[in-house]
Homo-oligomer: 253 residues x 2
Amino acid sequence: MNSPLKPGKVWLVGAGPGSPDLVTVRAVRALGCADVWLVDDLVSPEMSCYARPGAHVEWVGKRGGRCSVTQARIQQLTLQHALAGRAVARVKGGDPLLFGRGGEEAAFLRAHGVPVEVVNGISSGVAAAQALGIALTHRAHCHGVTFVTAHTSEHGSPDWDALVRGGTTLVIYMGMSRLAAIRDGLLAAGMRADTPAAVVMHAGGAQECCWAGTVQTLTDALAAGMASPAVVLVGGVVAEAMPRVMALSSAAP
Amino acid sequence: MNSPLKPGKVWLVGAGPGSPDLVTVRAVRALGCADVWLVDDLVSPEMSCYARPGAHVEWVGKRGGRCSVTQARIQQLTLQHALAGRAVARVKGGDPLLFGRGGEEAAFLRAHGVPVEVVNGISSGVAAAQALGIALTHRAHCHGVTFVTAHTSEHGSPDWDALVRGGTTLVIYMGMSRLAAIRDGLLAAGMRADTPAAVVMHAGGAQECCWAGTVQTLTDALAAGMASPAVVLVGGVVAEAMPRVMALSSAAP
């Protein structure tokens, strides 16, 4: 009789912001070992250059018009592959531990006895700062930086009052459908209307595109063609970007 | 007559939290191209495996008892090498754009006509979450995460009231000499004394070590042997780490 099959390992791999060379060496190694890839939204198709020959690469989650796979189904799929003894790469954009539901997926798998290793990645908010030519923090401007989502189902909007008072640079994810609400929330919280703000679309990817303005003019980013996936950056540090981003903007077709 | 020498390029490279395989593929490429490395505090010596043969690798900044090179002197050194036509890797721990003074160094070099490219890295706060087995954000707990320094010369302490009210996970850098002040600030701001807190020393490196407790017991981390370099994590998400970190702690010598 065979002994019960040992579950395969699952790597929760941060694929970074887009460009295949913005993943870590550890990620490349994990991706090259995996029998199965389950690949999330927004991960660049180019990333599959790291798959070993014969690996099964499956795209899950919404992409364009295709049907979405639910979070529960993705977790079940990952579990099934692991319990069948396969080495699985669960490939996520950015970092799995920052807005990636990586915590939930890891907890689910560990509860089923599956060994899980998380491989950190570069988050799009950090890549956006690189695109703008700014730092997220600057001794002259602020104590730190806050990464928030514009909205969550459980919590409604962020506490803009507290965030503005905290004085950190704000990096807002998943905010493109709520730019007016973000502007209004920030202004109502007493933020100056001329506080520098920027939007970076496809940060760290081949189609990267930047817009710079102020909190007051934030919705102009939509007219300028900015759309999801994009991150919004707000704060004094963004002013450092202006000449460079303006030059990029005028060079655009 | 020779034409004036074209300045060499400077890469501001994020060397990540410690382990050499936690750098990006782009960083490896930049490091392998550079004629000169100017390497910051806290970068692992192992990173020099990526230097090309004959590259000049120079350690700048404080390490142990050695003399510190001032920030101004580091910038002058970088500039001199670049103006002499050399390709320079300015190697920094974590990400150059998050508490790395990367913005200042890039602005200085660009003002002198030197081309600068920033290569993002994994910050120790993100690696700390990986070490603890938690996510920095969780839909059930919070809207986001804030990375702050415990103190800056220009701004005194962070506005703990606003940070606590903001409700994000807090990741506090450079706080080990101020743990009591952090505890007092958080408690005075109304944070519950039993809010989960953790300290991760050498996150993402070979000597990584974790401690978990609460805001009330934060200074116990010192008695447990935690010391700089370390990051402090505070918030509901840290509770998810407890069983795992406790197991690690009891396994420690």
